[in-house]
């Protein structure tokens, strides 16, 4: 029986909370949202961009109407809730609607504070809060000339910039003597004012507004000091106040905002609140990041998931009006007990201030160059102790450049510093390659020095060195093909293979005019994969084009020995199986027996010639621990035994591993199945991970637990095990058909986009077609260990040859080859 969750408010904080709740526990609640504005959830912060002309209204919608329908949310827009009846647990709207609730969430946000000036009700006097205000400003700019913005804070300055873009004359009125005093110190503020004046804004500081003059429509603003300024439009951006009227009237505790505890609960039972209308530990937040944090906590609480609760947020702001770079975070004012490190360069228009307390960074202000903003913000949050070395925060170690942008990083590097860690290439070596060996492109530097030739992580640095040394215009941008043998991209190669029905790598390299007729270690395995993917039945796998591991079906180790990993489905074994593994390890004197991360057993240090016999004695299928293939499907215990398990994760995992084992893929693929949202199998860092929920399964994709850790994205939710297998098959086949050889699913997904993948798999007919193709490939696969054991031809490749010394008595081999050796002297 679902509980009724009703949310008053359809804004960013509230809807983000609902999204989180749906992820955690989609079936617990029947959700109703009541919103006053006639729009679906949109990004209010981007109204400034819409005003400035950088975005359109449709671009800022966060959740369109379809989202509400797809998630079975009952949405009432254009309704304002006028009364909360906490006794009857019902809310009433101004349209006469009455909605009952089990849990109520108040996310009513703020109302813009309108100065109660005489004349404030005239035409042409507005706030800057919603889409309607935005439209009014845009329309007004078409007919009128002069605008006044009252309020020189964050919002007011963004409104002013937007109005300037609409070609109005703009004056900003501020009661204080410097702008943005909540985010900037006086120095930073003065620099900001200078820059904005340069852009055309006029400032009237230390002016207190008195009366709005005009007839039906505003014509001007008079100040308390008697002076007056003309205006056709007045925008009030003097602050916001939490929208708490209905909560107050319902008897819920309200201070400045609706008072909530660490799980966002109010003083009334089953009533919660979050966002700009809520007050937590005395703070009402007006910036979005803390509100998202609040939403995450409330979602966990209502979903029944453990949470530590909300403990408040450290704030940071980046002024996002085009052209002006301002950043501030934490406690940036000079309080007693703090010490500040300042850099002020009026010539370049740069100001940086870092505030320390007890050696830790507690606040920062940046103007003109905000590249270090995120770094400073994370230092504030982490509380790292810089006692004794505070200057490093701004200047880096040893007084070098210290900034986080690539250009500065490269500038700051000394010549003997390593740029490419994988290959140990110094900055000097690269510069030398450019200056003395004439390298003008990344590819040439790679060929010359090996830099960026392994993991590729230093590519931005190398490119920067190129640009700095040569000058941006002289850098040669070469079209990069799949390797140095060709300029053709992966898509072009696969298209050619398909269209011209090329069947061997030799054909491909010949027909597509490879620079090297036999390719290289990069393209030969890639071509072998693409050919097998396009023509699984016709293409004969080319052993000579496989990496050693996939050829020998074992992992090569540093000393030329190999490792053997038999298949243990879903990480479940038996005493008999374990005994067999132990016996084989003993018989062949295996130096190291290790449990792997993939929930199976690795036998390391095996001599190549022992491999076929070991496989025969093990009598288990290959675990494919070495291949660009499906590796494992990790599982947690699930409902076979676990008290929290909602589904049989072990059964699901084993079914998946049996279905997809041996599948060859562009890069290794790791799967997992968790039996409940606690996710003990860590499914959400897998290429494809399945998480059981009450009544079904969630499928996550594109995760990665390696060098670039990435949490997987939700692909879909299904009810049955068969559907899991169908979606998995379709997804994997789509990956096989469109990714680059060597590209992990996380890279591929980020490159093509989750939306694109979802669209490709949306139609069931399309999914079934993909499944048909993957099954065709799977049906052709046989256990490789078994194949090798049964084929003399394949087996003998694991043995060494023996040298027979020439035998004088029988004449040995020399007699037989007498003819060939006629010109050579006989052996002594």
């Amino acid at each position: 029986m679902k509980r009724k969750l009703v949310m008053v408010g359809n804004g960013m904080a509230g809807v983000a909370f609902v999204e989180q709740l749906l992820k955690l526990n989609p079936n617990k609640y029947e959700i109703t949202i009541i919103g006053a504005e006639p729009h679906p959830n949109y990004n209010r912060i981007m109204l400034s961009s819409v005003l400035a002309g950088d975005a359109e209204m449709k671009d800022i919608v966060l959740n369109d109407w379809d989202w509400y329908r797809d998630n079975h949310i009952m949405l009432h827009v254009g309704h304002t809730v006028t009364q909360i009846d906490t006794a009857k647990k019902t809310v009433h709207t101004d349209q006469g609607l009455a909605v009952a609730y089990d849990e109520l969430v108040l996310a009513t946000g703020s109302l813009p504070f309108m100065l109660p000036l005489p004349g404030a009700d005239k035409e042409g006097v507005i706030a800057f809060r919603d889409i309607k205000d935005c439209n009014t400003m845009i329309e007004t700019s078409r007919k009128y000339k002069k605008a006044i913005v009252i309020g020189g804070g964050l919002l007011g300055l963004e409104a002013a910039r937007g109005l300037l873009n609409l070609n109005m004359e703009v004056s900003v009125v501020h009661i204080f003597n410097y702008l943005m005093e909540r985010q900037l110190d006086p120095t930073g503020s003065k620099m900001l004012q200078a820059e904005l004046e340069r852009q055309g804004m006029k400032f009237l500081l230390e002016k207190q507004s008195d009366t709005i003059v005009g007839k039906k429509r505003v014509t001007g603003l008079r100040f308390k000091d008697g002076t007056q300024e003309d205006a056709d439009l007045i925008v009030m951006a003097v602050g916001i106040k939490p929208n708490v009227q209905i909560a107050k009237e319902a008897g819920i505790e309200v201070n400045r905002g609706i008072v909530v505890n660490d799980v966002m609960a109010t003083s009334a039972p089953n009533v919660y609140s979050l966002g700009e209308c809520a007050e937590h530990r005395g703070i009402v937040y007006g910036l979005v990041a803390p509100l998202y944090e609040q939403g995450a906590v409330l979602a966990k609480h209502l979903a029944g998931v453990e949470t530590k609760g909300y403990a408040g947020s450290v704030l940071s702001t980046k002024l996002k009006v085009s052209g002006v770079q301002v950043f501030s975070a934490g406690q940036f004012t000079d309080e007693p007990g703090t010490k500040a490190l300042r850099v002020q360069d009026d010539l370049s228009g740069v100001y940086k201030k870092v505030v320390f307390q007890d050696g830790k960074v507690v606040g920062a202000v940046l103007f003109g160059d905000t590249a270090e903003g995120s770094k400073l913000f994370s230092l504030i949050r982490s509380g790292e102790d810089y006692t004794g070395r505070e200057r490093e925060v701004l200047f880096g170690k040893e007084g070098g450049g210290g900034a986080s942008s690539t250009a500065d990083l490269v500038e700051a590097m000394s010549g003997d510093e390593i740029v490419c860690g994988c290959n140990g290439v110094t900055k000097d070596t690269i510069v030398e390659a450019i200056k003395e060996k004439g390298c003008v492109s990344l590819g040439e530097i790679k060929a010359c020095t090996k830099a960026s030739g392994s993991c590729g992580g230093c590519k931005p640095l190398v490119e920067q060195i190129l640009a700095s040394t040569l000058g941006e215009d002289n850098v040669k941008k070469v079209k990069e093909g799949i390797c140095g043998c060709t300029e053709l991209s992966r898509d072009e190669v696969v298209e050619s293979i398909t269209r011209m029905k090329l069947k061997t790598s030799k054909e491909v390299m010949h027909v597509l005019e490879w620079r090297n007729p036999e390719g290289c270690s990069k393209c030969r395995p890639a071509l072998n994969y693409y050919l097998g993917m396009v023509f699984p039945e016709e293409h004969e796998d080319e052993l000579e084009s496989r990496f050693v591991n996939e050829r020998n079906h074992a992992n090569i180790q540093k000393d030329g020995t190999f490792s053997v990993v038999p298949r243990i489905y879903g990480g479940v074994t038996t005493p008999e199986e374990l005994k067999r593994i132990a016996d084989v390890a003993g018989k062949y004197d295996v130096p190291l027996v290790k449990i792997t991360g993939g929930q199976r057993i690795d036998l390391l240090g095996v001599k190549k010639e022992d491999l076929p016999n070991m496989w025969r004695d093990l009598d288990m299928p290959s675990g494919y621990a070495y291949g660009k293939a499906l590796r494992t499907v990790k599982t947690c215990v699930g409902n076979t035994f676990c008290r929290f398990g909602t589904q049989d994760s072990i059964g699901m995992g084993i079914a998946m591993e049996k279905r997809f084992e041996r599948l060859n893929t562009p890069a290794k693929v790791k799967l997992a199945v968790s039996g409940c949202p606690r996710n003990c199998a860590e499914a959400t860092i897998k290429d494809l991970g399945v998480v059981a929920i009450d009544g079904g399964w969630e499928i996550y994709v594109g995760g990665n637990g390696g060098t670039k850790v990435r949490a997987a994205d939700l692909l879909t939710k299904v009810k049955t095990e068969d559907e899991v297998l169908e979606w998995t098959g379709a997804y994997l086949q789509y990956y096989r058909e469109t990714a680059n050889f060597g590209e992990r699913t996380s890279e591929w997904l980020q490159r093509v986009g989750l939306a694109h993948i979802k669209a490709a798999l949306a139609d069931q007919g399309e999914r079934q077609a993909l499944v048909g193709r993957i099954e065709k490939t799977l049906d052709l696969m046989k256990d490789p260990w078994q194949q090798i054991i049964e084929s003399d031809d394949l087996r003998k490749a694991f043995d060494s040859l023996t040298a027979n010394s020439p035998d004088a008595a029988s004449g040995g081999s020399l007699n037989v080859v007498q003819g060939a050796l006629a010109e050579k002297p006989q052996a002594e």
Binding site: A447, C448, T449, K450, N516, P517, E518, G519, C520, S521, R524, P525, L543, E544, S545, F547, V548, R551, N552, I556, K558, D559, G560, K796, A797, S800, L801, T802, A803, N804, S805, P806, G812, S813, L814, V816, V817, G819, A820, L821, A827, E828
Partner: protein, 112 residues
């Protein structure tokens, strides 16, 4: 010094190698796609990788450990890496199909 018999043509596959111990060294003997043979010391100068397990492209082989590229005609490691491996001539007696290593043709390693 003589020719050492190590095997038969049928022991070899296109662009694959077989290994053989002789005179305290392990040799990797390759059959190239043009039907000719090459033999080099089965030990990459970088970190002693088994070159016999590498991918063969014309007369080059790539070490399976870290992808160093070696020219099997002269044993030289290709730029940007440096080094060399010993090489030895292979005799293929066409009439019988027997394969030999020509021991007196061993080129000495210049660096170890």
């Amino acid at each position: 010094m003589a020719d050492i018999h190590i095997g038969h043509l049928s022991d070899f596959a296109d662009r694959r190698a077989r290994t053989v111990q002789w005179d305290g060294t392990e040799w990797a003997v390759f059959l190239l796609s043009d039907g000719t043979f090459r033999a080099i010391e089965n030990r990459c100068p970088h970190k002693a990788g088994k070159l016999s397990e590498g991918i063969v492209c014309d007369h080059h082989v790539y070490c399976p450990l870290h992808d160093w590229k070696i020219d099997m005609n002269d044993g030289q490691v290709q730029a940007p890496d440096t080094g060399c491996v010993a090489s030895i001539e292979v005799i293929h007696h066409e009439a019988t199909g027997k394969i030999f290593l020509r021991t007196e043709s061993v080129t000495l390693k210049q660096s170890s």
